[in-house]
Amino acid sequence: MPTPVIEAKQLSKHVTSSEGPLTILHALDLMVEAGETLAIVGASGSGKSTLLGLLAGLDVPSAGQVRINGVALDQLNEDGRAVLRGREIGFVFQSFQLLPAFTALENVLLPLELANRADAAGQALAALRRVGLERRLSHTPNQLSGGEQQRVAIARAFAPGPKLLLADEPTGNLDSATGERIIDLLFELNREAGTTLVLVTHDAALADRCGRTLKLEGGRLI
């Protein structure tokens, strides 16, 4: 039986707020197989982003365990998790998270350079060409529209060839028409690369395009 790309067991997250202890995620279990497309939907504050952060190793759970391609994240230190992310995971964020000082090309180059890839420039160029931004290579984020910025972010996510793509409300900052084009592009690239996609959204239409949808409510998957 092939190893699941994501395996989360009894995953919990508690935080202490000014009003006392607060449980964001309640002992949830989740398994995502290779090539699967999964949407996690839920209202604001349901814990979607917290779950995504735990799956990416950006945060540590209060209890439970996450395995990415069989590697237990709790066995890795902060730097080990960073290396794993660089090798296995691509990200697309609601607020794009492009480096403002860098051009489109340089933003796409960044994960390739961090992974010390040979021909990083060629790969970055190809990725930007694939998202239709070959004429915008030297533009910085503040010279690009929101849709263009998200396309750069998608190119950056796919350029290193990750096994898993995590997307957090990828259309949240875009108008509906642009958002739709971005989602088309995301799914198209995902299909081409055979990447496993986990997408967090509160948009039901977007969730419907995924192979499976899980709903998060009050910190529990239902």
Partner: protein
């Protein structure tokens, strides 16, 4: 991955995007300021050292009581140094039946190696510089000897077995130092003529001098070579043995230059700290993204550290070059007026500037790098996550220590550096505390007030950490500049008071007790103020606390001092240019008590303490006196001063002569002839030439101090402006938001001006108070000059800060206000 190539690319990208530019600009300006002040100070110090060498007529002088081995001269010549030899000895000069003691100086053609002789063709002719020395068979004499022998230029003088023609009047020789009250008038002759006189016999008291001059390094090497070969009776003479008035002024000028260099380092640290904080803050989100994309914490630190090093090296180099060009340009502009022929600077200031820039950059930014390392990668998903703060002020301790060490290094004097560093640390804490209190107050006031100014005030209170850093930074920078202004004023005032226009230019010695009233009457008759007369008794120190003086443990200077006779005096009141440092001056009731007031320096040299009983042999009779107080004497005051003074009624029974000094205006010089006729035994010493020399050097030093000060002030302003620009990002965004929300331009301007007027007021107050206290400490304890509390200067300083800082802030933000708001929102 290969950090270095990544860093290089990152640097290029950050530079192009402007992220590194402000940091690099602050660094370049700071290093340029430090190195320019350093370069200039170095050059001025070289000139001052060279000027002071005039007092030796050489760069180095070897003095001996026996003929010097020719190997010393040969070695100096071998090293490419210029060499001259002189001989000094007392001898009787005779003309007809008149004989008087003269101090003979026999010189060779190369004398003097530094400076010039000045001669006059007759008593009434003007003096002029000459490159010659007396030709064989001729002598030059001081006017005093002419008067004593009753001769004129062209007459003959007999020295030993030979007759010489007086060919000129000697008015000035650069190395005429020593005790002007105990020396006979000078007669200068050619060294080749000495053997013919037959004056030098076995046992003659001759001082042989080998003068050496050349470039700094070979002279220093030769000094080291010579120092290890000195025989008994041979000693090296330094500038410190020369005229005290110049020596003191020189030391103070050097201290001021050190203080200026320190101020530039402090300003550099302020600029770097503020720019460094901006750089780190702006990189936090980028680091979160990089962490998310796979960069390890170590990699983040490494990349930023290398980036800073690269900026530090390149910016430092650019700063050094700019500093060099700036001081070179200004030296060319002002060099001629300031000091002729400034020597090229040494490379040390460049190294100092580079090290300062790098050390301050890394020292200040290093603790902040922990923020970059610890930034949570989760911020990419949750921008509301708090950013890591620098948890402990202790993490800045190494930076603080490093800056303190740099400041001490540039001061080149522990006492001065310690006062400034210690004081500034205290005032930095005070500034932070005051700013913190003000933030709380503003926050409270802001709630109850309305208007544009409220936004400015609240804006300051809204970012307490940034505001406290800004206020503390500006306080530090302004304190350094105000301190420099205050000390400069004190120093120049001190120099001016040392030699006022009516400083005594004639000294009169050998006045007998019964001539006192006649002399006073003579001055009244001449319509001149009668000068004060001071008694002078010659005595030899023979025992301390009843034990005969043991000179075996004394160094050469101490031994030299005990071998000759002391000039003792008595006085009811202490001279105004003296200051008690231990014990107390006597009262009227203590008249006749066996007490003594001793000069502090000689007490230290001879190891004497308050309460010690000193036995003097005065004209064959002994007297015991107890040290009642120690005095600090302003030797640079050009007034007669005494090492040892007793109360009235103690020494009167001993034979005393009197001395006095007075200012004789140039048109009244004819009075001297009448004085000589009326008091033929009295010796008048003309110090006009010496005064002119001292005045000229002090003027040059004053120019140097003024120039370095002005340069430091300009560099300081520039550095503070760079620091101000570095803290403007958040404000640009906030004020643009105000514009987006409908604020009128004048409302935004009012808010900006209010915010920075408050910063300026707080910083200005701390700086005025800090500079006032530090100025007192530096003047009193480091420079040892009287401190003048200058309230108007401090008020002026605070007022300038209040005018300049808000204006500069507005100037910096003005461009932003003319741009479309969307562009600002996108770019910040």
């Amino acid at each position: 991955m290969n950090s270095m190539s990544f860093v290089w690319r990152l640097c290029k990208r950050n530079w192009r995007a402007g992220e590194l530019r402000i940091l690099a600009l602050a660094l370049v300006v700071a290093v340029a300021a430090v190195s320019a002040v350093g370069f200039f100070t170095d050059r001025v110090q070289s000139v001052l050292a060279r000027q002071s060498n005039l007092l030796l007529a050489a760069d180095l002088a070897l003095v001996s009581d026996h003929p010097l081995a020719d190997s010393y001269r040969q070695e100096a010549k071998r090293r490419g140094l210029a060499v001259a030899q002189t001989m000094l000895f007392p001898s009787m000069a005779t003309h007809g039946t008149e004989s008087h003691l003269a101090e003979i100086k026999a010189v060779d053609e190369r004398y003097p190696l530094r400076g010039h002789l000045r001669i006059a063709a007759s008593s009434s002719a003007p003096m002029g510089e000459t490159a010659r020395v007396p030709a064989a068979g001729t002598v030059w004499v001081e006017p005093r000897l002419l008067g004593q022998l009753g001769i004129a230029v062209g007459d003959a003088v007999k020295l030993g077995e030979r007759c010489f023609t007086v060919s000129a009047i000697l008015r000035f020789e650069p190395d005429r130092g020593g005790d002007m009250f105990s020396i006979a008038p000078r007669l200068m002759m050619h060294r080749g003529d000495v053997p013919g006189t037959g004056l030098i016999q076995f046992g003659s008291r001759v001082s042989y001098r080998l003068l050496v001059a050349g470039a700094e390094k070979p002279v220093e090497d030769y000094r080291i070579w010579l120092a290890s070969r000195l025989q008994r009776g041979e000693r090296l003479e330094q500038v410190s043995d020369a005229r005290p008035e110049i020596r003191n002024a020189l030391t103070k000028a050097r201290q001021f230059l050190g203080l200026s260099a320190m101020a530039s380092v402090i300003l550099a640290a302020v600029a770097m700290a503020l720019a460094g904080m901006r750089f780190v803050t702006r990189n936090l989100d980028a680091c979160a993204v990089m962490r998310c994309l796979g960069a390890s914490q170590g990699f983040i630190v490494r990349v930023h550290l290398l980036q800073l090093l690269l900026v530090g090296l390149l910016g430092g180099l650019a700063g050094c070059m700019l500093g060099y060009l700036a001081q070179e340009g200004l030296s060319r502009l002002l060099g001629g007026m300031l000091l002729e022929g400034l020597p090229p600077p040494s490379p040390l200031p460049a190294l100092q500037g580079m090290l300062t820039g790098l050390a301050v950059l890394l020292g200040v930014v290093w603790p902040l790098l922990a923020r970059l390392r610890d930034v949570p990668a989760l911020r990419v998903l949750r921008s509301d996550l708090p950013l890591p703060t620098v948890s402990r002020w202790l993490t800045f301790l190494p930076a603080g220590l490093m800056i303190a060490a740099l400041v001490l290094w540039t001061a080149q004097e522990v006492k001065l550096g310690a006062i400034v560093v210690g004081g500034l640390c205290g005032f930095l804490a005070l500034a932070a505390l005051l700013a913190w209190g003000a933030m709380r107050l503003l926050r409270r006031l802001g709630r109850s007030q309305t208007g544009s100014w409220r936004f400015g005030a609240v804006n300051l209170a809204r970012h307490p950490a940034a505001s406290i850093s800004t206020v503390a930074g500006f306080s530090l920078g302004l304190t350094a500049l105000l301190l420099l202004t205050l000390v400069r004023g004190d120093l120049l005032r001190n120099w001016q008071s040392t030699l006022p226009p009516d400083a005594p230019n004639r000294f009169t010695i050998n006045i007998q007790a019964d001539q006192r009233s006649a002399l006073q009457a003579f001055f009244q008759q001449e319509r001149m103020p009668p000068p004060p007369l001071q008694p002078m008794i010659k005595g030899r120190l023979i025992a301390v606390n009843g034990k005969p003086l043991d000179v075996s443990g004394f160094d050469e200077r101490a031994r030299h001092l005990t071998e000759r006779e002391f000039n003792l005096s008595w006085a009811a009141q202490m001279q105004t240019d003296n200051r008690i440092v231990a014990g107390r001056w006597w009262t009227a009731e203590e008249t006749g008590q066996p007490l003594l007031s001793l000069e502090q320096g000689i007490a230290e040299t001879l190891g004497l303490h308050l309460g010690d009983w000193l036995t003097y042999d005065i004209a064959g009779e002994t007297i015991k006196l107890r040290i009642a107080n120690l005095r600090k004497v302003e030797w640079d005051s050009m007034r007669a001063n005494f090492f040892a003074v007793a109360p009235p009624g103690t020494l009167e029974r001993f034979p005393a002569s009197y001395i006095t000094s007075f200012y004789l205006p140039p048109p009244r010089e004819d009075m001297l002839n009448r004085m000589v006729k009326a008091f033929p035994n009295v010796t008048i010493i003309d110090v006009v030439a010496i005064l002119a020399q001292v005045r000229s050097m002090m003027n040059r030093m004053a120019y140097a101090v003024q120039f370095v000060f002005g340069f430091c002030l300009a560099a300081g302003m520039l550095v503070l402006y760079a620091a101000l620009s570095a803290t403007q990002d958040a404000r640009k965004l906030e004020y643009t938001l105000l514009r987006v929300l409908g604020a009128r331009r004048c409302q935004v301007v009012a808010a900006v001006l209010t915010e920075f007027a408050l910063v300026a007021l707080l910083a200005g107050l701390v700086a005025a108070f800090g500079a006032g206290v530090l100025g007192w400490a530096v003047s009193r304890y480091a420079l040892d000059i009287p401190y003048t509390f200058d309230a108007s200067l401090l008020a002026w300083g605070t007022g300038s800060a209040l005018a300049i800082i808000p204006f500069a802030a507005w100037l910096d933000l003005r461009g932003t206000m003319n741009l479309p708001s969307q562009r600002i929102l996108n770019s910040v």
